[in-house]
């Protein structure tokens, strides 16, 4: 099963991934509503650190969803009709990439097997393999 | 005579990624001719920049001597 992979060494912190994710799913460039959050920053100016929140298809959200709103078949899908916004998925996500918005859970769906974030990453730090 | 050609920037693809080669060229050969013999025709390369011999910028028509180092740059823009 293909999944997102991330190489820290190649990441330049441009955040184009979050921008294109939100443009694709929300119709506007709103990284705060993206389903991937990757950035780099200088910790006290002396160390380059990476925040890499991206879906690894570990399936923990799927396994813990109390209502069955989450399905997993090579990608995660959330049925918002069923989702009750309990937040269990967000709480348990090891990559801290699941977020709740207006009482519903938003999770990366790999853009149906052809992730936009991978396409836009200018340094091939994000791949899908 | 033997000269060394060094490539910089986007030109390294003409040496398959190698940055330098020692080449045999006729005596009195110009920079232009030496490059052409090595597969680099500057008139056909849009982003061809400038040339330097032994670390100093010269005209493309500069005559070379045995043992010279000819460096060719692609255009770089910036500031």
């Amino acid at each position: 099963m293909k999944r997102l992979r991330f190489s820290k060494k190649k990441c330049i912190g441009c955040q184009l991934c979050g921008q294109i994710c939100s443009a694709t799913h929300e119709g506007a460039f709103v990284p705060s509503k993206a389903r991937v959050y990757i950035e780099t920053y200088y910790d006290k100016g002396g160390v380059l650190k990476y925040q890499d929140s991206y879906c690894t298809l570990c399936g923990i959200c799927f396994k813990n969803c109390p209502t069955g709103a989450i399905s997993m078949d090579g990608k995660i899908l959330v049925d918002h009709e069923v989702c009750i916004g309990c937040g269990t998925c967000a709480e348990k996500c090891p990559k801290k990439v699941v977020r709740l918005r207006d009482g519903k859970s938003y999770i990366c769906d790999t853009c149906d097997g052809d992730p936009m974030c991978v396409k836009v990453c200018p340094q091939n730090a994000l791949t899908f393999e | 005579m033997k000269i060394k050609i060094l490539l910089r920037g986007a030109l390294t693809k003409y040496f398959n990624g190698e940055k330098e080669r020692i080449v045999e060229v006729p005596d009195g050969c110009t920079a232009e001719e030496a490059l052409k013999l090595s597969g680099i025709d500057w008139t056909k390369i849009d982003n061809f920049g400038f040339v330097a011999v032994n670390g100093m910028r010269v005209m493309i028509t500069e005559k070379l001597k045995d043992g010279d180092e000819l460096k060719a740059y692609s255009k770089i823009s910036g500031g």
């Binding site: 330049i12 912190g13 694709t24 200088y42 006290k44 380059l48 | 400038f50 770089i76």
Partner: protein, 586 residues
Amino acid sequence: MYGYQNKVLRVDLSKKTAAAEPLRMDWAEKYIGSKGLAIKYLYEELKPGIDPLSPENKLILMTGPMTGTTVPCSGKLGVAGKSPATGTICDCSIGGHAALRIKYAGYDAVIIEGALDKPGYLLIEDDKISFEDASELWGKGCHETEAILADKYGHEYSVLTIGPAGENLCGMACITSDYYRQAGRGGMGAVMGSKNLKAVVVKGTGGVKIPNVEEAVKRILEIQNEDVLQEDNTFVFDWGTTAFLEACQDGGILPYKNFSDTTDPNWTEYNGEVFMEKLEGKRGCGSCGLGCGNFLKIGDAICEGPEYETIAAYGPNAGNRDPEAILKANQVADDMGLDTISSGDVLAWAMEMTEKGIHDFGIRFGEMDTYIKYLEMIAKGEGIGKELAMGVKKLAGKYGGKDFAMEVKGLEYPQYEPRGSWGMSLAYAVSDRGACHMRAYAPNEEVFAASIPPYTPEGKGEMVYKLAQHNAVKFCLCICDFWGTISMETMAELMSLVTGKEWTVEEIADVGTRVINIARAFNQREGFTAKDDTAPKRIFKEALKNGPAAGQKIPEEAFEDMKQQYYKVLGWDENGLLPDSLIATL
């Protein structure tokens, strides 16, 4: 037009008020954003003759319509105000992520007026604005300040801060973000300092809308892959701006010991290979495709850098070959919030003055321990630093050595020797903010592309105009300099995609010309004329001894000829002034 937020945040520090107002879309249609639009606002809102360090000056942080979108290399923030170093208009371009966060907070621009009565910082969280106390931060370096604010707010917040240089109103003070990015020239840091404004801290959770998002994103991605990500641009990922060192050395424009000569036979001691070997990581700005930032460690020196300007200014121009000293000096300057170009030129001048016995500033070429101490003293206004902080123009006025005070209008010379690229002397002379290489970058044509002979005045007026026009458009769009291959056609296409309004190449090129003109009109109103478009006499009187340009000096008549060519191309008179009819169109 799409792309814009249609909102400007106007902040009055004296009254401690902040209110959103509509963007002047009629001005945006003529000046687009960032550089051009900021200068238009300042032209309209600043009275001529104000003191740049008074509350009457304004600091404008200006984004563009593409900011926050996936247009590659669109993450630069325009920072503009009246310059305390020169008295001219000054606009800078700072990297990092602040531009995006201001845009996502919902604003095209933040206009900062007045002054706080005691040190504070501006906190912007979407539509929530507050004035916070900065008494604990005042006096601290940029790096400690950013660390404290990051601890308090987290990394989703961008910080624009000044260091001691800005606090002490040094004309070489810059504004810093992401630790190692600057709005470097013209003393914009001092403008913030004069307002008692230690920092602007901003978080934005909103977004940017463009029409036909799906198609536009697809086309923009195509442009990224076909145009941006080609070797002609990606060299900045591989080398950063260290790539310019070898080219300037071989090209004969690398300055040596205060521009007394060019080239250094030992340049390989501090070249790109030396620095890149110490690479810890790469970093770019928001929306950047190229990642030019080199995060390095050499000994106990840590810095994202050094950029070419810093290598040359703190290296051969200072008679220094030690790369660790260059990096350490870079780190100190960044922390102090001090422009490396200007501080480098001031210290090089001071070294020459000392060695020539004209005035003893206590530093000679190559003395890097003293150099690094002096950088801190300049920023803090301590001891001899207080004098050196005045900048090379004022210092030469006081002590002599004017012939080799390398500046125009009070802004120090960037690290390209004009005797090796005559058009650069023109570019430096007519640039809107004083000697600047980011308006018309003459070496592109005269040296690196070898497209025009470097040691003649012919055609240089037109050449400098075309280069300045291209960059003016580019910087209005917030596009980074290092997307070097971007064409007017591409810029027009990107504007059309993002704003939903059709922009032609002619229209967008006209914006560039208009921006050159309005910047000049601002300066004209302040009293600047052709006699202020100068060059240090060194380049007229002293012939270079080394490098491919050996023997070259620029005859004063040739220099004046180039100036007149430039004025003519723009429709200015022989005194470099815009006629009223042209001013009326701005």
